[in-house]
């Protein structure tokens, strides 16, 4: 197999070229704008801007809300993935599609639909008052933001966990049971550890988009809470200050890269096991 070296290089060539043009260039632009001021001189001001009271607060709130959403997604998704994994195997593709299908409806329409559901005079409150139950007042609060995040990113948690659970060899589980482990022990000693790659992928896929989102806090949070995603978006679209927007993006990237490094430490294989 002497030609393999060249063949492999050829295989990787299209993607490497593609990545060089379409990934590195945009990234280079972010770094260029993030590290210069409007005269084009080098500065770290845009990076240091994260220390200002408003930005730091926005970052903390964003981190908090995304963390909460990720945890909720995890606790909703894990039991669901376990139930699904124990179902008929031939329905695999059907299950995957059923979970991804709501995501095919436009994101803006879906989020506006939540507004219609949650508003003071919305659908849920009409139903509640019809049943003489107390009203649900979560629209324009952080609770609604978390709900929006959980809703939009839950499938990204379910699918990787489901995939990693399906991959577990049933013989391993049976062996544990034969050796006298009870259900709880089997779960904590066998199932859970073996599904860690899926969990890590899921956490990454939920946490990153939750951290950078701005539409959800605008539509469901009444824009009353400033998230770091909103700050960056407004620097680009309202203030026209691309330098500050890019600088804050770089800071956010650092946070996310830390998240990925942590994932990589847990996930010895390196790439996670998303789907």
């Amino acid at each position: 197999m002497k030609n393999n070296g060249i063949a492999r290089k050829l295989l990787s060539a299209p993607y490497i070229v593609w990545a060089a043009i379409f990934i590195i260039v945009p990234l280079g632009m972010v770094f260029y704008y993030g590290l210069t001021d409007k005269t084009g001189a080098f500065t770290l001001e845009n990076i240091a801007a994260i220390m200002s009271a408003e930005h730091a607060k926005a970052l903390w709130i964003s981190l908090g809300l995304s963390l909460i959403s990720t945890v909720i997604c995890f606790f909703l998704a894990y039991p669901l993935a376990m139930i699904l994994a124990n179902m008929n195997v031939s329905q695999h593709s059907f299950i995957v599609l059923i979970f991804i299908l709501p995501m095919w409806m436009n994101f803006l329409l879906r989020t506006l639909a939540w507004q219609t559901l949650l508003e003071k005079t919305g659908v849920i409150n009409n139903v509640l008052s019809f049943l003489h139950l107390p009203a649900l007042n979560i629209i324009n609060t952080p609770y609604a933001i978390v709900l929006g995040m959980v809703y939009n990113f839950l499938p990204f948690m379910v699918l990787p966990i489901y995939n990693s659970l399906v991959k577990i060899d049933p013989n391993v589980v049976n062996a544990a049971k034969d050796l006298g482990a009870n259900g709880i022990q089997t779960f904590f000693k066998i199932t859970l550890p073996l599904s860690v790659p899926g969990i890590i992928s899921g956490i990454t896929m939920v946490f990153i988009p939750a951290l950078t989102t701005f539409v959800i806090s605008k539509l469901l949070g009444g824009s009353k809470i400033l998230l770091i995603g909103n700050v960056i978006e407004e620097e680009f679209t309202q203030a026209g200050n691309w330098h500050l927007g890019s600088g804050l993006s770089i800071v956010l990237m650092i946070f996310i890269i830390v998240n990925m490094v942590v994932s990589a430490i847990f996930d010895k294989d390196g790439e996670g096991s998303f789907l």
Binding site: A58, I139, K224, I225, E234, Q238, A239
Partner: protein, 352 residues
Amino acid sequence: MKKISVLAICLAAVFSFMGCDGSPSGENGEVIVYNWGEYLDPETIELFEEETGIKVIYDEFETNEIMYPKVEAGASEYDVICPSDYMIQKMLENDLLAELNFDNLPNAKANIGAQYWEQSKEFDPENKYSVPYCWGTVGILYNKTMVDDAVDSWNILWNEKYKDNILMQDSVRDAFMVGLKLNGYSMNSTNTEELETAKNSLIQQKPFVQAYVVDQVRDKMIGNEAAIGVIYSGEAIYTQRENPDLEYVIPKEGTNVWIDSWVISKNAPNKENGEKFIDFMCRPEIALMNFNFITYSTPNDAARELIEDEDIRNSPIAFPDLSQYDNLETFQYLGEEADRIYNDLWKEVKSE
């Protein structure tokens, strides 16, 4: 699994086939128009194409700020664009606009009212670059069944009684316009003290605000979700039609008179066709069609004469007598430094 993949590939093949329709240009060339979303009756485009043989390539944007980088970069070589007042000034300052040849615009000269040309001078000092297309005011929309105080001033938005029932605009300049006007300052102020005062007012208001929204004021007010909201006059007529309890007021402290105007970009490949398009849109019957479609006030006096419904023709919402009000202003582009100050202060408000 296999079936799905076969299906996917078949569909892909079908769509790739359908996607490849070339768009032939008209016999007399084309004109590329960049306008706000839903801001023109599509039928008027068909009429224009039929009459002139010029093909219209129509493109839409959702905010001035998202339009600007595309035009600045020269992305698509647009001919006709419809930005707002302050954005026109910014584009002028950055040399992105072409001077119009008013010999090609007889309808614009004849039909657009004198007061609108006058108002335009705030951003286009010599009336050489822009033709007004839509205009309006910003005011307070309130629900008569939910508000029992007299509404004639911005300070109703600071009334604790309406806590959690107030909708504020979620954009820097609009929010600060309210804050500045409340305190009797110019909405184009760059005075640090004045801006600081306005910021403190907005912070003070924040606990009473139900939500900061842009386009959602309309739906939320129609649905009785809030009692008071800051809204553009063009939406007011529509919301009243849907919910008769709503009333629109221009506050006595003055407000923003905004104008969206047609301009032609500097690198327009079809400048003459662009002027034909603008002039066509200034014809009374065409301007009337557009007015009926979008319900935003038209600066076209001849078109206004043609409005059949007297209530609308003389509506104080659509066509307020501007001389009745003091301190009406139009947004100006204040420069990058001022934009930055505004934005920093706005962040402080939002972060509270």
